[in-house]
Symmetry: C2
Subunit: 378 residues, 2 copies
């Protein structure tokens, strides 16, 4: 492998995750090329080369990658065949295309969990809505599209016949509703040498309207045993896959304190944004270290951190205007990350804010103030 | 003033300081334009607009700035008349042109210290070498060019008649040699509202060959009184100037523990690079907050930090190659910042490395290892 500052890195996707990766690649002189379908993507002005094109198109992805040394992703909906061909021709692709293919499909993910003794809820797979209706399952249950779901899209709760009539037509999987106590996540990193490190387990609260993480607390205050169990599960997944890069493992903690894996994201993830200020290494820095086969960084927490997503305010659509910045920055330990998106719409992820405090409850109180005070309007 | 993400920021200079400022501006969606004479400047690919041009030329600086809302600098050798004209026309310029003018000239700096009761060594000003020779001063002493010195250039030790024959011809100032125990520095930030904050005092060791900071330790372990005194001096300077932005105050701590101000830099400075990982707010983030009149961030140290400059290895000139990255990153708490410079030459500043450790002595030991292990060759 070439030395890091001579390696031409390509990132599929030029959104906020790419943007925060670039803030790290700058530290290593890495030349970064970005492919994104949006000519106004958040990365367009901060990379060495920016190309507008479809991430799903074989030719586009193949031609983008053929002169690069290393390719990574910031979104998993990409053309796998092109990545496999590039890999055959000697381009490094991390995470590996076979893993992206598996994770793209929630049905394959569930089969992988089953085959590798990774705790997850029971499931059934259906190719069509007709098959689902014929199965005559007991209500209520959750139907998830096998492919292309994200940020809560592609998930339906089926509670009655009317819901069933409106169920997804496409291939899907069905799970029982999990009566969980808390949603938790662990981000794990692994490099090609096999070195593996987890970030401390975090706890998440979701916005029920938007079905997006809205309130994330790091580190968790659950028992050492629960945290260790969650971290061991994440390591086991990364090792079973021979994964390279950072992998987000979203899990449910049930009311009887069992852990069930919900789903995986093969890239930096919303549940790790607080690591930028809250930990000695950020998930973005760790991803760069992992894909360049450098020793992984210390993942310890610096302080209690609460992360909130900045979502476009309901009822506003157009050129984004940010209200309340000065007020929130008066509080100590408040860090803002805007994502460079010109236009807002309801629930669009426009940025995030991390609050650091030695005292966990103080951090939570500040986060509530920030959430009430900082708004994206138009 | 416009909201931060609608403000067009211009930076005079596109070197490493501009690069580290941009890593912060990304967090606020700030549109950044850069002017630099070098078409390959470190910022060229990571800003919204990059212009090649002379920082000393009136027309170039004026035309660069006339459509911007706010201008700052990462180097003080810039055309002041153009900045003054832009300021008259309503463009915000921080730090203010009158302050850059004062700091550009070490003679004016010394007069300012004298007039404002800021402790500094006695000095005399000479317009020509002839005047200096006629003064018949006692050897040894230090001669400094009033203008354009940087990184130890523009400073001569005059010990005998031969040195005197080789003294600078240009306007200069002369000071006694100071028998100091330690070089120290405080970075102070002030915003237009008058809010003011200092970073903890740091201690510096210089490379005698290159006359560059090579080893910086934060925070200092000198007594509370000394640290408070240094911070009060820095605040007094910033307040006397009504300074806006971050200001680096380099000082000598004499053997009898008096503090003498050496010189000022009206911008982020080498003596504050360790704040990126070592403090809750970095000097770059603080500069952005200050010039946008946002509340200043918490400057407390997170841990002991040692910063070393990465200098081009003696005897190597050409396309830079970095040796030893993997070895140094195996140590916990080692953070690298390469500056995106393609070519190395002896003592060129190619980057810096910060080492964080709970234990100060451990941090120093790791820094020594890093210095021996990581090399820039060609």
């Amino acid at each position: 492998m070439k030395s890091i500052s001579q390696t031409r890195l390509g990132i599929l996707g030029g959104g906020q995750l790419g943007r925060m990766l670039i803030q790290e690649t700058i530290n290593y002189n890495i030349s970064v090329s970005i492919l994104d379908p949006d000519a106004d993507a958040p990365c367009k002005n901060i990379c060495d080369y920016f190309e507008v094109g479809s991430l799903g198109d074989y030719e586009t992805v193949y031609n983008f990658g053929k002169n690069l040394d290393l390719i990574t992703i910031e979104i998993e909906k990409v053309n796998i065949e092109a990545l496999e061909e590039l890999e055959k021709e000697g381009v490094l692709v991390y995470p590996q295309p076979r893993i992206i293919r598996l994770i793209q499909d929630k049905g394959l993910q569930k089969q992988f969990f089953k085959e590798n003794d990774i705790p997850s809820s029971p499931f059934q797979i259906f190719n069509t809505k007709e098959q689902l209706i014929e199965a005559n399952l007991h209500f209520p249950y959750i139907q998830k599209l096998r492919k292309d779901g994200y940020d809560g899209k592609g998930v339906k709760k089926i509670e009655n016949e009317t819901d069933l009539e409106n169920a997804f037509e496409q291939p899907s999987l069905v799970e029982n509703l999990i009566d969980f106590e808390k949603e938790i996540a662990v981000i794990v990193a692994r490099n090609p040498n096999g070195e593996i490190k987890t970030f401390p387990m975090v706890e998440m609260d979701f916005n029920p309207d938007a079905n997006l993480v809205e309130f994330l607390i790091s580190p968790s205050t659950y028992s050492f045993e629960i945290q260790q169990n969650a971290e061991e599960i994440a390591k086991h997944i990364a090792e079973s896959l021979n994964f390279v890069g950072v992998l987000a493992v979203e899990m449910f903690l049930t009311k009887d304190h069992q852990i069930l894996v919900n789903e995986l994201a093969p890239r930096p993830h919303n549940s790790g944004h607080q690591t930028i200020e809250g930990n000695f290494t950020s998930q973005f820095g760790q991803h760069i270290k992992a894909i360049f086969n450098l020793p992984l960084g210390n993942t310890d927490a610096i302080a209690n951190a609460v992360m909130i997503n900045i979502l476009g305010e309901k009822g506003y659509e157009g050129v984004a205007e940010y209200k309340g910045l000065e007020e929130i920055l008066k509080k100590e330990g408040v860090y803002i990350h805007l994502y460079g998106k010109k236009y807002t719409k309801p629930f669009r992820k426009m940025g995030h804010i991390t609050i650091i405090d030695e005292d966990r409850q103080q951090a939570i109180e500040k986060a509530k103030f920030v959430k009430e005070t900082f708004k994206v309007k138009a």
